[in-house]
């Protein structure tokens, strides 16, 4: 099982630092990493990631520049591009595929794109090797979860984790380190989801410390660490300094 899925905001602290950060993550054994594409109106993000996105935009981390920075990187975990739809729509599917081709991006997590809203765009990208990560929220009923997982199918065990996993949203609300997110409900949801799917699951939103990450691992799922990591990094901490204590020694 993949023990940790970290999230970084591209361009925060800087785009120049990104290749080294990714290579550092890989040297730590990180298999896959969510990379946030900074957006002006991140409606599903809490204050930490909003601030990170705005800092990054202020420093010139436009969507195209982010993708150009990733071009040619081989020393990187598999990347899941975490983004909102509009910047991708403005780039357009054709140009997006060209921009993505030389990068380590393996999948897209488009927060405001439910299945069925842009079927042609989504199918085009999936065929090109960029499937959309299925999201399962606390409000997603089991019958809707079946629909979501069928619309965004598992490419199978030969595919990398980045293209296979489903993202289980731990709690209601937006991204951000919550105060003591109660993990009992999500643990129950994970076990229900296990009954309908055998694909890998990641659990994120509100996880901030080694104990909550460990609790997610005991569910057999991969914990996502986002806002808490972005905040530490913004405070000047190194990626290794942040991640090593969270790895639980089993990497």
């Amino acid at each position: 099982m993949n023990p940790l899925l970290p999230f970084l905001m591209a361009g925060d602290p800087s785009l120049e630092a990104l290749p080294a950060q990714l290579s550092e993550a890989r040297s730590l054994g990180i298999e896959a990493l969510e990379l946030g594409l900074p957006h002006s109106d991140p409606i599903a993000d809490g204050p930490v990631l909003q601030a990170a996105a705005h800092r990054a935009i202020g420093r010139g981390a436009t969507p195209v520049r982010v993708l150009q920075t990733l071009a040619g990187l081989t020393d990187s975990p598999d990347l899941i591009l975490f983004t909102y739809l509009n910047p991708l729509l403005q780039i357009g599917a054709e140009r997006l595929k060209t921009l993505l081709a030389p990068t380590p991006v393996k999948a897209l997590l488009v927060v405001d794109l439910p299945f069925g809203e842009e079927p042609a765009f989504e199918a085009d990208l999936r065929t090109a090797g960029y499937p959309m990560v299925p999201l399962l929220a606390p409000t997603t009923t089991l019958s809707r979860a079946r629909q979501v997982l069928a619309e965004r199918p598992d490419p199978g065990p030969a595919a990398p984790f980045a293209q296979r996993f489903a993202y289980v949203v731990a709690r209601l609300g937006v991204t951000g380190a919550g105060q003591d997110t109660d993990l009992a409900p999500v643990s129950e949801r994970v076990s229900h989801l296990r009954n309908i799917s055998s694909r890998p699951l990641a659990v994120g939103f509100g996880l901030a410390d080694a104990a909550s990450l460990a609790a997610v691992r005991t569910m057999g799922a991969t914990p996502v660490i986002g806002s808490a990591l972005v905040r530490e990094l913004a405070g000047g901490e190194s990626l290794s300094g942040c991640l090593i204590p969270l790895m639980d020694g089993d990497l």
């Binding site: 993000d45 809203e117 409000t139």
Partner: protein
């Protein structure tokens, strides 16, 4: 629990609208559509809504002839649909009250709303006080300063007003924060969106609850003047009063116009004129004409009127415009101020800055030879007195 939408989610040849929502909000939106359809089909809900619109809101609102303004501008006749005379002073109450009734029917105990000019916030606060629902309204800090009387009114009604500091501190940021707030409380709260925008079913729901404006106005025109006017005109922020007035006239052979905020210039960032300044994009859950930069980031906007100061045109109004069924114009800050002054001086009516944008488009219509016009006076201008005082030097 509903597992698919059954109403159309898209508008026009360009398929605008849709439901571009985070997964957390999908089931709440599916359930909202189902509740909306069941309420519409329920005579008891319809009767309750009708009674509240009559006895609490004060409907029907008058259709007032404006002969001195008509003479000044060169019209044969000018009619004003007086949404400014509703309880709380703008058309926003039609939608806010109806959605509050719907929320109560859904068993929700809490309401979340955004507001720009504060009229939707005040209307929602009043409806919640009346129905005994807890209410939280998100409002940008710039708008809180320029629409201060409405902040006080919301607080008097027991609503919690949450200041939004981000960005320009206007309506866009308030909607961002309301969507975030709703995602955290969607198991118990209903989000009363204030304009015909956002993810499906909101654009349809809001338009449905606002068409009472045009239905009344059309019947009143026929009754009072014996004929329909040559043109019907409203201002357009997200598009709720515009659709509310114009949609019931879609089958008629007349001109339908909506007026956007021209702000103080034509460059991106200086206005909120989405029809010629915008490109197709997705913001706040719907695909529509959007003011944005080349990266797909939402552009800044500017308008003297908080209620029109928003980067996206509601999807249904944008579709009607792109399909040639509604003409969209723009009026600058200065033109809106002049329009407001003229209505005050000639008819003794103080319009909201939003509504003044529709007034500002009248001279051009007269110059084009239009003789009879029906104008949607969406709200009253008490909230804007401090702006009028400083900008009109009174």
């Amino acid at each position: 629990m509903a597992d698919a939408f059954t109403l159309p989610t898209r508008f026009g040849a360009e398929s605008l609208g849709g439901c571009y929502a985070p997964e957390t909000l999908m089931q709440p939106l599916l359930d909202l559509e189902a509740a909306f359809r069941s309420a519409l089909a329920d005579p008891a809900f319809q009767a309750e809504l009708k009674a509240e619109l009559r006895h609490f809101v004060g409907r029907p609102t008058p259709l007032t002839v404006a002969p001195r303004l008509a003479a000044e501008l060169g019209f044969k006749a000018l009619y004003l649909k007086r949404e400014d005379l509703t309880h709380t002073g703008a058309h926003k109450i039609n939608n806010a009250l109806a959605q509050a009734l719907l929320a109560r029917r859904m068993g929700k105990t809490e309401i979340i709303a955004e507001t720009g000019a504060g009229q939707h916030g005040v209307a929602t606060a009043a409806a919640c006080a009346r129905l005994g629902l807890a209410c939280t309204v998100y409002m940008g800090v710039t708008d809180m300063a320029r629409q201060a009387p409405n902040v006080a009114r919301m607080r008097l009604f027991g609503t919690k007003v949450v200041p939004v500091e981000a960005g320009q501190g206007t309506l866009k940021e308030a909607v961002n924060e309301a969507l975030r707030g709703w995602a955290g409380r969607c198991d118990q709260a209903h989000y009363i969106l204030g304009s015909a925008l956002g993810p499906h079913p909101f654009p349809t729901l809001v338009r449905t609850f606002q068409t009472v404006i045009g239905e009344e106005a059309r019947a009143q025109a026929l009754e009072q003047a014996g004929a329909l006017p040559e043109a019907v005109i409203a201002c357009a922020g997200g598009g709720s009063n515009g659709l509310g007035l114009l949609v019931p006239f879609l089958g008629d052979g007349l001109r339908r116009l909506a007026v956007e905020a021209g702000g103080h210039g034509r460059a991106l960032g200086e206005h909120a004129a989405r029809l010629d300044g915008g490109r197709m994009g997705v913001l706040h859950g719907c695909k529509t004409l959007l003011l944005q930069d080349e990266h797909g980031h939402t552009a800044e906007t500017a308008s003297i009127s908080a209620g029109l100061d928003y980067p996206a045109l509601g999807p249904e109004l944008a579709a009607l415009a792109m399909d040639g069924l509604v003409e969209v114009r723009r009026a600058s800050d200065e033109e809106a101020l002049a329009g407001a002054r003229l209505l005050c001086e000639r008819e003794g009516i103080l319009p909201a800055l939003e509504s003044s944008h529709a007034l500002a488009a009248l001279p051009a219509l007269a110059a084009e030879g239009v003789a009879t016009v029906l104008l949607g006076l969406s709200g009253r201008g008490d909230k804007d007195l401090s702006t009028y005082q400083s900008r009109l030097e009174i």
